[in-house]
């Protein structure tokens, strides 16, 4: 098997990299793929809690690299889907504990057995970012409709291209149709025009994300959630399907009602 490695990155912190990694990995597994999620944020691991797998960690990525255990021993198998695994980051070490070369080797080994390897990159553009992109075949940049996030995304595009990762794609996260509508949030077209890269998905702002993170159940598992649908669509696009972008709901019935009675 010759798996594909996708790095999820952003530059700016807090835009939804880890949530996106968890949901893309889960949604790819829901499509029947064998998937390994790698948390490359050494020292600040979080993909384990977002996936709800924090209680099952015995070994981590640094243990694998330092030969304290075999790769298979550190991979946590997700019980919800056959073929979904997590390789957790180390929490008590720092970014220099893994080198880009070691990361590449690790990914090469995983590729033999996996359809997709999804790497959750740390924020920033230093060592941790360089480790995360080493060995990636494809890069997905997560941004939100804020100047700071889009600016950092633009920086990352330049850095990825300098590292030979051509044609990164972007996820625009936490978009609010009502705010775009009234002219208080940049729209999808505005950001795509400025960044000049391909859009692989839009994820609407969804309270369900908080709830799903509270429970450690990726929202992609929730059939009724908008954001869950958005991530399932992204997974299918990654697999090569040509799906139309999700229509953003201008105004829900509830929010119209609230406005009507003066609650918002």
């Amino acid at each position: 098997m010759a798996g594909k490695t996708i790095v999820i990155t952003s530059g700016k912190g807090g835009v939804g990299k880890t949530t996106s990694s968890a949901n893309i990995g889960t949604a790819l597994a829901m499509q029947g793929n064998k998937v390994c999620l790698i948390d490359a944020d050494i020292g600040l691991r979080n993909l384990d809690v977002v996936m709800g797998l924090e209680n099952r960690i015995v070994y981590d990525i640094v243990d694998v690299v330092e030969n304290n255990c075999r790769l298979e021993q550190a991979m946590i198998r997700d019980k919800r889907y056959d073929g979904l695994y997590l390789l957790p980051a180390a929490q008590t070490r720092d970014k220099t504990s893994v080198t880009p070369f070691q990361m590449k080797e690790l990914i090469e080994k995983l590729k033999e057995d996996m359809d997709y390897i999804v790497v959750d990159s740390p924020a920033g553009i230093e060592q941790g970012f360089k480790n995360a992109i080493a060995g990636a075949d494809r890069a997905i940049i997560v941004t939100t409709p804020e100047i700071s996030a889009v600016r950092d995304a633009d920086r990352i595009i330049g850095l990825l291209e300098a590292e030979g990762l051509r044609d990164p794609e972007v996820i625009i996260n936490r978009i609010r149709a009502d705010m775009v509508e009234r002219g208080d949030m940049m729209g999808i077209e505005d950001m795509i025009e400025i960044l000049a890269i391909d859009l692989i998905g839009i994820v609407p702002e969804d309270e369900g994300i908080v709830v799903s993170t509270n429970r450690g159940e990726p929202i992609a598992l929730n059939d009724n959630a908008k954001a869950g649908q958005a991530y399932r669509n992204i997974a299918r696009r990654i697999m090569g399907e040509d799906l139309p972008m999700m229509k953003l709901e201008k105004d829900s019935f509830i929010s119209r009602f609230k406005k009507l009675v003066g609650l918002s």
Partner: protein, 77 residues
């Protein structure tokens, strides 16, 4: 038009474009201004440039990043 009449979305887009010009060409605002002034000076030797209406933008295209500048001529439309 007062600045608060303008939708914050347009303000964000303009500010973002401005800051990306600097990020992409790796010049400070002062250096950008100096370059702009020098360009005006050179062009003005030959043509009548309307220095109030100059637009400079750095765009990313398929294989390159390009500095795109518009120097409208005085009295032209």
């Amino acid at each position: 038009m007062k600045s608060d009449d303008k939708k914050s979305k347009s303000v964000a887009k303009e500010r973002l474009q401005f800051v990306l010009v600097q990020d992409r060409v790796k010049l400070t605002p002062d250096e950008m201004d100096a370059m702009r002034d020098e360009l005006i000076e050179v062009l003005s030797k030959y043509i009548d440039v309307d220095s109030q209406k100059i637009e400079m933008d750095v765009r990313r295209e398929d294989d390159m990043t390009a500095l795109v500048a518009n120097f409208p001529l005085k009295g032209s439309k």
